[in-house]
């Protein structure tokens, strides 16, 4: 950021020239306009940060007042009108489905990124890069519709709303995120390491598997955790794949599964105060989960840099 420092120094030169009255025209007016515009730009950043502060403040305030031991340790109250109960089933379902999604998305995403970087002379690579970017913009509700058509509506043992369907839906959202972030990480592995391995007689697959990926490991974990954090807060895709459940569902197939965002969505939409209180507590729980995952990801990423 040396540019900013240079700017200020060159500006002070301008000021000193202007002070001597050698600048033509209305310098005072231009200076005032500059101050006004800088003030407006500052206002813009303020307006962006006010909602963030309001969200964090309100979720913490109303979430904390409804959060208690019972909320964290008991399953959902079937009644929206009565108080009591918690989101344990949702937390369980979210972790379960995100786990399954990771099992699918992490290998696929990392493999995609590896191919893009290590086989960059392939004609396929620009297409893969482009459509990975495009895939990050596919609406999550549409991903849900897709999984519904290929899995949920079928009559096979994979049919019906299930943990697996939810996990698959989340994995489709995670794949492009992991692929993009991993690509940047793998690119950072120095070529010297690759060349040294080749010099020792290693094959290409050995170089990738034993040198490149282990070197990039911490960055790959960071990339995956960021995608996990994104998936944990995802709601729309689960409406059409996991559906929701009132109890803890250990089954992988054949039974709808609960998720934190799904319960928040359902309880917030009704007009009942006890349900609203739980939804705030659930939002706090979800935000803490996402925050925890993001912090872990950043910690791992910072601790060991490639």
């Amino acid at each position: 950021m040396t540019s900013t420092e240079l700017n200020t120094s060159s500006e002070s030169v301008v000021f000193s020239v202007a002070d001597k009255g050698e600048m033509p025209g209305n310098y005072a007016a231009r200076k005032r306009k500059n101050q006004i515009m800088e003030g407006i730009l500052f206002l813009a950043i303020l307006m962006a940060l006010i909602p963030l502060a309001l969200i964090l403040f309100e979720v913490i305030r109303r979430g904390a007042s409804a959060m208690n031991f019972e909320f964290l340790t008991s399953v959902q109250n079937i009644s929206l009108i009565r108080e009591g109960g918690g989101y344990l089933n949702g937390l369980f379902g979210t972790l379960y489905m995100v786990g399954i999604a990771s099992l699918i998305a992490v290998p696929l995403g990392v493999a995609t990124a590896t191919y893009v970087v290590e086989y960059s002379n392939s004609k396929l690579v620009p297409f893969i890069q482009f459509f990975t970017d495009v895939m990050t913009g596919v609406p999550s509700i549409f991903v849900g519709l897709f999984v519904y058509t290929i899995l949920v509506q079928g009559d096979s043992i994979f049919g019906g709303f299930s943990t697996l369907a939810g996990g698959l839906g989340l994995s489709l959202i995670m794949i492009p995120i992991i692929a993009r972030a991993s690509e940047e990480v793998i690119r950072l592995v120095p070529d010297d390491l690759r060349n040294a391995a080749y010099g020792l007689g290693a094959r290409r697959w050995q170089v990738v598997m034993q040198i490149v990926l282990p070197t990039a490991a911490s960055g790959l974990i960071t990339a995956s955790m960021l995608a996990v954090a994104r998936a944990a807060g995802e709601t729309a895709v689960l409406l059409l794949t996991a559906l929701g459940a009132f109890k803890i569902v250990p089954e992988l197939l054949g039974s709808p599964q609960a998720a934190l965002p799904l319960i928040i969505f359902n309880e917030a939409r009704g007009p009942f105060e006890p349900a609203h209180a739980r939804a705030w507590a659930g939002a706090l729980e979800l935000m803490l989960l996402v925050l925890l995952l993001t912090l872990i990801a950043r910690y791992i990423g910072r601790k060991t840099q490639v």
């Binding site: 700017n7 969200i55 609406p139 897709f146 058509t149 807060g233 709601t235 965002p261 925050l291």
Partner: protein, 329 residues
Amino acid sequence: MSSDTNAFQRPAMGSGGKSTQDAWFQRALALAGASVLIILAAMLISTAMNAWPVFTHSGWSFITSSDWDPGISRTEITGSYGALSFILGTLITSTIALLIAVPLAIGCSLYLTQIARPSIGRPLAYAVDLLAAVPSVVYGLWGLLFFVPIFVRPMIKVIADTVGEAVPFLGSPVVTYNYATAGIVLAIMVLPIITAVTREVMLNTPIAEIQGAYALGSTRWEMIRAIVLPRARPGIIGATMLGLGRALGETVAVAMLIGGSQRMPTSLFQGGQSMAGVIAITFQEASPENVKALLGVGVVLFVITVLVNMAARLVIWATGGRVAGDAAV
């Protein structure tokens, strides 16, 4: 980079078996890479095939009519399916979101890259990125129970009572949850991605040109007008389209805040419904033929968002590569 190292593996050190291993390894990775393309194609084909009976039944009226009256048949298509009011709902909320978010994002990016010292700018930029980490259901909950009733609704009331007397689409009656409330919260949600891309582009302004402007006696604002903004224009366009893609596809928060009405829009302050919203809200209770119609709505949404996203990425790629950072994914 790695293509250069290709030559090093050529000297045949191992047996033929090892080079087949290499070939299989490459094929497996290529398949994984191609999975992105396969998945995208499969998404379109599978949903479009399932929605086909509705498309043939409704024809063009699926997107030109607003008569949405689902039937209850298991096997045939008996209802009438015109999704125009949902399509308009999506377009209206996205437009409101961009009208608010784009100027704000440009202002934020200018402040972060041109005015703030790095020691202040970096944490502020991180805070804006943090807006992207808030789950959309939390935006929905916050908007539904706090932001809209306490901040947005009184503001809209004032607008409707003053400006609304003269300007069409801004008049009374005001419903609590409407196109405008959904659009305003949506603006907050797309702000970080637009800011992330715009910021990146502005950081690439050539220092020599900035210094040249100062040397000629420009104030900081004049330098921004003359150098930074013109240079960043293509990037801002790309960022706007990327934000548009996000806004079009956003589901849960919009579904919670748009009011949930099938009426054709006559005012920004009436309740409506978006494409993603109608799928999210009505899918679980939908009859089999209604499900097909909702799949059709999904296909239309998918085609629009993918086209917008492709155009956005092409514009951004043309202005100097892809954009890094969490908020941009």
